[in-house]
Symmetry: D2
Subunit: 142 residues, 4 copies
């Protein structure tokens, strides 16, 4: 875990809306998948890597693995801090770690990870390496 | 309204799931938009017009107008009957009417309508007329 | 329309994410319903009226009417300005108007309106008047 | 794995709709969470255990753990077979396994598992054991 310490966490803030909740009055368990996507898209964008850049390079980034542990629930009106961190690259896979907290208590509510792989937009084949300009931005994020 | 009577209603059945509901214990108001889409896609498909057919003809069908009136709510575990009916064509616009009922009581819960127009997939321009094979299927539905 | 001019527009900014889009590469037509909810919830909250306040007063605010006109589409990576404005009250109904623009062009993409009515949380009956503290906040918004 | 063989798979069929897809033309990765919920809710309901039964027993069933592996994508118009299987109980945890296939090819597209725990509806505390009538239905499913 020590090596992870060198990576910055990115904080994405979400106020829990009615459409995020279910009949139990808490955030529906699938809603977090969207928040996690927003966090990593905004993070990359803040680092200068927008979706337009990926598409211009003919690269799409499908999710291949996803895992979540639900420790505490969030409720209507709560503010969630969706903290996202990119793991140092092993090959072309992008592995993201998440720690979703309740802003009021700073307690961890959800822990998760998501793995994406770059594919060619047209053939959907996994790329052996990222196009150089994209790779450069990812490395600058460390 | 008389002319509408000549059209068949298509019934799409949905059992209310947790992910359809919100904190109030009832179906979230935006959820119905997805059910209405499912009803018209399944209806056209049952009439022999699949999405693959539209795409092969380079046609997309974006929504240009949508209206809903919410009269009664639906609750977790309820069965909804999403009744859909296509209005006789005026030009290229497809106008759908909806009557969403609670299967247990046959009472109308939601009334709605959705208007779609055919556009060219690439230019996104509105078509002056539907490709003949698509038009033929729509006419056979009356 | 003149009387509406006296009301402030509230701007809610949304960056279009993958989960907002559909196969056509544009924002799925039902996605806007969630953005419009976020805009009015955040607006009321910014004026000092949180969901917790409504619930403490035993009031829920279901949507009874919704209408949207889709004029232009929004695409992955676009920034949307979801502008929301509350109409001067006629009785207990809250009528919201929306003008959703593409931030890059300031062009209107979607126009819409949503009507909500206050109901008792337990009986789900429509209230004859809003509880005084809630009414006071709404009036202060004009 | 041998002991799992004694459990029945439940098949939940879903036709991929526009609202399930994203800009890449394939099912958005978070959509599967909803399909998996539908499969287990319908399975339990088919076995005589509806949500009304859970609530009458003051039990809610939040998800505590979720994992997905994405092997192949599904596209607009595809029919998905969401196969769900309940693992033999270890204590009060309900562990579900999923094998989501493309009906046309019978190939596995997504593998997943979801763990739920029974909690008291009001206190949200984990129950030490399931109420007897619910336990009886679960055992009859084996």
């Amino acid at each position: 875990m020590a090596s992870l310490e060198s990576f910055r966490w990115y904080e994405h803030r979400v106020v829990v809306q009615p459409h995020h909740t279910d009949y139990a009055g808490i955030v529906w368990h699938g809603t977090y998948i969207a928040w996690m996507e927003e966090a990593r898209v905004n993070y990359l964008s803040a680092c200068g890597l927008t979706f337009a850049d990926w598409i211009k390079a003919s690269v799409d980034l499908p999710v291949v693995d996803l895992g979540l542990k639900y420790r505490r629930s969030l409720t209507l009106g709560d503010t969630a801090l969706v903290n996202a961190r990119l793991e140092p690259a092993k090959g072309v896979r992008l592995v993201w770690h998440y720690d979703i907290q309740n802003a009021a208590t700073q307690e961890t509510c959800i822990e998760g990870s998501v793995t994406l792989v770059p594919v060619d937009v047209k053939t959907r084949r996994v790329l052996r390496r990222l196009p150089a300009p994209l790779q450069a931005v990812l490395e600058s994020m460390l």
